[in-house]
């Protein structure tokens, strides 16, 4: 195998690693609630709330901007976040009531469909 290829692959690996290290944790200025959403919800519900992530599709995650979700009351949404429902785990032990309240507002602000 050509030595140049070995070096290229090795250097590409190091480059990818260094880029990863060099990127700041928060490139965009994010509000606290956006960070909470990103940390806890994006994995299934996707950044736009659509549930269109690979894991969200497989688990049938709800589109947070859909009527089905938006027609729920704030208390109902907060309860789902805190206690979980179906395949969604409960976040009540981790998130503070204030975080949950802000998440509900964040969901409400998502563009309606």
């Amino acid at each position: 195998m050509p030595r140049i290829f070995v070096h290229l692959v090795a250097r590409a690996g190091v480059f990818v690693c260094l880029i990863g290290l060099a990127l700041p944790v928060d490139v965009h200025a994010q509000s606290d609630v956006a960070k909470v959403y990103k940390t806890n919800c994006v994995l299934c519900h996707a950044a736009d709330g659509s549930g269109n992530s690979s894991s969200g599709k497989a688990l049938g995650a709800k589109d947070l901007a859909s009527n089905e979700v938006q027609k729920k009351t704030d208390a109902e949404l907060a309860e789902v976040i805190a206690k979980g429902k179906g395949k969604m785990p409960a976040f009540g032990a981790k998130l503070k009531p204030e975080d949950i309240k802000q998440l509900v507002a964040y969901i409400r602000a998502m563009p309606k469909k």
Binding site: M1, F5, V6, V9, A10, A12, G13, V14, F15, V16, C17, I19, G20, L21, L23, V25, V27, K38, T39, N40, V42, L43, C44, A46, A47, S53, S54, S55, K57, A58, L59, G60, G84, K87, P89, A90, F91, A93, K94
Partner: protein
């Protein structure tokens, strides 16, 4: 000793007693499950097979948690803190029974191991963006604990061209252990195996030869949840060996850096998950030395995985996976030492398996494998049971496995491995009269994960 009917009955009764005696009060789940508050089946079709959610959890660094943490906010010149309140420790306990069709000479057939091995895992979030899958394993044969598969990673996400970009850094000790799919060697089928029945002599270097014998540092990225690219560079790190490495006593001593690469494309819909990709590795190594002639290995591999959820059958899942590995090697060091009759060799490995998951309770898998390559009477030398009389590395056969999961953390498996050809022949393959079919093996496993 043959696998007689009374012995099988005894094993079955023992297994049932074991289940009845333990399962009723077993509420234990591994640490990822404790950390996320999700059942094993959210991440696994059946462990260790990852669902799309499980792959994303690994991609994101094993850090998702829904449980209480010790936290401190980043402020001014102060660092933040996110620490799991529960220490992420898990245990796997394996006990097994293996019987080969023909006993290995001068040994007792029907091998009962209690335990076969016991693993401790430090598996969970270490912080906001760092998590681990770190395993140490006690084996009955070695009678000691040893470091096992480990993947410690930093991960983060951003947007690129309006699409999500997940990226990370991995430190690991087994090429392909960092991979997300079950079509590559580290997490491929068979997911459990006997550690006492004979296996073919020829094996590609990426197919486990360097497992836990290297230290790797790499990076990976997944763009738009479709395109995965990863690369890791490895150096030898021999467990139990002297540091710095003098090379003596170890078959592989990596010279320079050994790069591993991975490119894969996946697409996921509600009921379908498809992946195909390529991976490979280049290793330059000197056996038992760190200077002098070297052996060079280049592995090019292709793989695919398809998981189909069937709503009509209560969301049972059908999985189809496969890989092909082409290894080209130039064995300068082995040739110079008289261990090979020529410099250039190749080895082709093909594996495929089909699995049906009956919910999370039962799964049945049928796998085929074929290994073929350059014959070499010195490299594949004659030896009883494990050698080849004609120097031909060809082996092929099948593996059948049925796993019953009475609980998501208990696996009771029956596995049968059959060989149509072993180390180059069907009959008298070792020159001592042993048939390939003599290595056919029944393997019974009881695995407890808590």
């Amino acid at each position: 000793m043959k696998l007689t009917r009374p012995l099988l009955c005894l094993m079955a009764v023992g297994t049932v007693i074991l289940i009845l005696g333990t399962s009723r009060d077993t509420r234990a789940v591994p640490s990822y499950s404790r950390q996320t508050g999700m059942p094993c089946a959210t991440c696994h079709f059946a462990p260790p097979e990852l669902t799309p959610f499980g792959r994303k959890f690994k991609l994101d660094g094993y850090v998702l948690t829904t449980k209480p943490e010790v936290t401190d906010d980043k402020k001014d010149h102060n660092s933040g803190l996110r620490l799991l309140e529960a220490f992420p420790l898990s245990v796997v306990f394996d006990t097994s029974y293996t019987a080969t069709k023909s006993p290995q000479p001068a040994t007792q057939n029907g091998n009962f191991q209690f335990p076969q091995d016991v693993s401790l895992f430090l598996a969970g979030a270490w912080g906001s963006h760092v998590g681990s899958f770190a395993q140490v394993t006690y084996t009955a044969q070695g009678n000691h604990f040893s470091w096992d598969n480990t993947d410690v990673r930093y991960a983060n996400t951003h947007d690129l061209f309006g699409k999500s970009l997940a990226y990370g850094i991995t430190f690991n000790n087994n090429p392909t252990v960092e991979d997300l799919w079950n079509s590559t060697p580290a997490w491929g089928f068979p997911f459990t195996a006997s550690n006492v029945s004979p296996t073919p002599a020829a094996k590609a270097i990426i197919n486990g030869a360097l497992a836990q014998d290297v230290a790797g540092f790499g990076g990976y990225t997944m763009w738009n949840e479709h395109l995965y690219i990863g690369s890791t560079i490895y150096r030898s790190q021999h467990l139990g060996g002297a540091q710095p490495n003098p090379g003596t006593g170890f078959g592989f001593n990596i010279r320079g850096l050994a790069p591993y690469w991975r490119v894969a494309w996946q697409t996921v819909t509600k009921n379908n998950s498809l992946q195909f990709g390529t991976y490979g590795m280049h290793v330059k190594s000197s056996p038992n030395a760190i200077t002098g002639p070297t052996n060079g290995y280049t592995d090019w591999a292709f793989d695919f995985q398809y998981d189909r959820t069937i709503p009509q059958f209560k969301n049972d899942v059908l999985s189809f996976r496969g890989t092909y590995i082409r290894e080209n090697s130039s064995l300068g060091a082995t040739f110079a030492a008289g261990g090979a009759s020529q410099l250039g060799h190749h080895l082709n490995t093909a594996q495929a398996n089909l699995e049906y998951h009956y919910g999370t309770k039962l799964s049945g898998t049928a796998g085929l494998f074929n290994v073929a390559g350059t014959p070499d009477p010195l490299l594949y030398a004659q030896a009883s049971v494990f050698g080849s009389a004609n120097g031909d590395p060809r082996s092929n056969g099948y593996t059948l496995n049925v796993s019953w999961w009475p609980q998501q953390n208990i696996d009771l498996a029956v596995q049968y491995s059959g060989y149509l050809r072993f180390n180059g022949a069907q009959t008298n393959y070792d020159g001592a009269g042993r048939k390939a079919g003599g290595n056919n093996a029944v393997f019974l496993l009881a695995r407890f994960v808590f």
